[in-house]
């Protein structure tokens, strides 16, 4: 179905603030002549079209309110509120620091292991939470989807943005750790925002794909946590990429997180970038995002029927 919002429609409606609140506005609605082309065209479902970015832009205020709602509700529902955002990566860092740093003595590219871990767990926590919540988001919003029209992609997008804001808050701890261990901030850190954007796009791609599939196949919700757990161990989060044997490095680089998380850590700790794996990762991310947006658009037509 092709839906086109015709922005050329301009209806001038000057409304006076009515004096008594209970009285209905009796002032005449300034009816302008009907536009020549339809503002909304509804057609039967088409097969392959990408997500309408214009529609998403037109609904940006709703996106803002969806993010705002989730943040507000979390703050109200939990005792520790915002502190959970920081506690999650800190607790994971402590656990891994004890078991891998002290007992298994995993190498960490001559960086203090706690700092090394946190620099990896910070982007990982964002990624895994973003993928998990966005994948579940459409099912959780079933009521909205069956009763109101808006571009459905806003729902997983909002979920990713909420997690992105968590990430920004939790980043403060990384800065504190850097100061504590006396690591200098180098020029390499300028690349960090791009890596975060890259990671966000990857999470969004997977989020869109899984969210759409999850509506029809609820198995995704069960399988996903296991997959994400495995992915943690297949990425350079709790150990350095240098631990992987040289002749397996090219396979390792096919994991898009290898380039991003390795790169994020390198940006903060000035460890030198692995450009090849970053490039591979970027290519995979873009292909995935485009594919996901087509799949999402195609399945979007059925959400209200199926969910």
């Amino acid at each position: 179905m092709a839906i086109s919002e015709n922005s050329s429609l301009s209806v001038s409606r000057q409304r006076e603030a009515s004096g008594s609140a209970d009285s209905f506005r009796e002032n005449a609605y300034e009816s302008s002549p009907l536009p020549l082309t339809p503002v909304i065209k509804i057609r039967a479902a088409k097969r392959w079209t990408p997500i309408g970015l214009g529609e998403i832009w037109a609904h940006r205020e709703l996106l803002y309110f969806l993010v705002w709602r989730d943040l507000k509700v979390r703050y109200k529902q939990t005792l520790l509120g915002v502190s959970w955002i920081i506690l999650q990566p800190i607790l994971m860092t402590l656990v891994f620091a004890v078991f891998l740093g002290k007992i298994a003595r995993v190498p960490s590219d001559s960086v203090p292991y706690v700092l090394f871990l946190y620099a990896g767990l910070l982007p990982w926590t964002f990624f895994t939470n973003a993928v998990a919540t966005s994948s579940h988001s459409l099912i959780a919003s079933a009521e909205m989807i069956t009763k109101v029209y808006f571009p459905r992609a806003l729902v997983p997008l909002a979920a990713v943005l909420v997690r992105l804001s968590d990430f920004v808050v939790a980043s403060v701890v990384l800065v504190v750790l850097m100061l504590y261990y006396g690591r200098p901030f180098t020029r390499a850190i300028l690349l960090a925002p791009f890596l975060i954007l890259h990671l966000t796009l990857l999470a969004l791609g997977l989020g869109l794909l899984f969210a759409a599939l999850n509506v029809k196949y609820r198995d995704i919700g069960t399988v996903l946590p296991v997959l994400l757990q495995l992915w943690l161990f297949a990425s350079p989060v709790i150990y350095p990429a240098s631990l992987v044997p040289p002749n397996w490095q090219w396979v390792y680089a096919l994991n898009p997180l290898t380039g991003i998380i390795g790169g994020f850590r390198a940006a903060f700790l000035d460890l030198g970038f692995d450009w090849r794996s970053l490039l591979v990762s970027f290519a995979i991310t873009i292909v995935l995002l485009v594919y996901a947006s087509f799949v999402f658009r195609r399945m979007e037509d059925e959400f209200a029927d199926v969910v």
């Binding site: 009816s31 509804i42 309110f65 709602r69 909205m144 009763k147 109101v148 029209y149």
Partner: protein
């Protein structure tokens, strides 16, 4: 006059599948694809597995009309509104709408129980397609209309169901689209609040705005609508005037009610129905 809503040959088919397949999982889909790769294609033509919610529906609505849509449960009224509201895609046919559409298919959609009344006004308003400027401008009026007063900054989970519904309707009542779609939302609140809602709809139509609404409340339909469409198992019927369409519908309901009863109570039933019909006929003639 050119129509503001033009519906041409609209059909909607739901694939309901075979009964054992109503909730397919990935495993079922994979197993099914392996076992019988062609069954998926065949199933589409299978009459028994589909449900035709709308059949070749065409009509046009002119600006400022208030159109009532009536019909029995499952006739396709809500499906029609959902297509016009862009929630559901049609299987065939076209709709052109020459204006913004606001829809209220359920009162209080997207209300979050932990947010306050004030917060929910903004969230729900945005969800219904209002710009935040528009919400701010109408905020005081919405609050006054809802009559929730000092509970504005209380989480809505502590609201009584009446307060909750009043606030939700108040937000929707201040939507300012050219075309407004309403599904059975008049059954909200007590008698005085319902009256207020009907007044609001009348005010909206005086503003030259177009309203399409579904209701089972024939009194409200007769009272508000200049035009009535009847949907019978997916097909559209329109009598010469609202009164005759409503009468047609009531006959239908009466016939359906009489059918399953045994012959003994039939006489009582039909007498009962006849009395109710004359009540409604009198009521309609009073209103017009």
């Amino acid at each position: 006059m050119r129509p503001i809503v033009s519906v041409r040959n609209l059909s909607k088919t739901y694939r309901i599948g075979r009964l054992r397949n109503t909730n397919p999982t990935l495993r079922d889909a994979l197993v099914g694809a392996v076992n019988s790769p062609l069954s998926y294609l065949r199933q589409r033509d299978d009459e028994g597995t589909t449900l035709q919610a709308l059949r070749d529906v065409s009509f046009a609505v002119e600006p400022g009309e208030v159109v009532g849509i009536i019909g029995r449960n499952g006739a396709g009224k809500s499906t029609l509104l959902k297509i016009l509201a862009r929630i559901v895609k049609p299987s065939a046919g076209e709709v052109d709408i020459y204006g913004r559409v606001g829809s209220l298919l359920q009162v209080g959609t997207g209300f979050h129980p932990d947010l306050t009344g004030r917060e929910n006004v903004f969230l729900n308003g945005a969800l219904l397609g209002m710009k935040s400027q528009e919400i701010k401008r109408n905020f005081d009026e919405i609050v006054a209309f809802s009559e929730i007063g000092k509970f504005l900054d209380t989480a809505v989970k502590y609201y009584s169901s009446g307060m909750y519904l009043r606030l939700a309707f108040a937000i929707a009542a201040h939507l300012e689209p050219e075309v407004l779609l309403l599904d059975e939302v008049l059954a909200v609140g007590d008698e005085s609040f319902q009256k207020k809602c009907r007044e609001k709809i009348k005010a909206v139509s005086r503003d030259e705005r177009t309203v399409l609404f579904v209701s089972h409340n024939m009194k409200a339909i007769a009272d508000l609508c200049g035009r009535v469409l009847l949907i019978r198992s997916g097909q559209l019927y329109e009598g010469t005037d609202p009164k005759s369409t409503i009468a047609e519908y009531l006959d239908e309901v009466a016939a359906a009610e009489a059918r399953p009863c045994d012959s003994g109570s039939n006489a009582i039933r039909s007498a009962d129905i006849a009395r109710r019909k004359s009540d409604i006929a009198r009521m309609i003639s009073n209103n017009t």
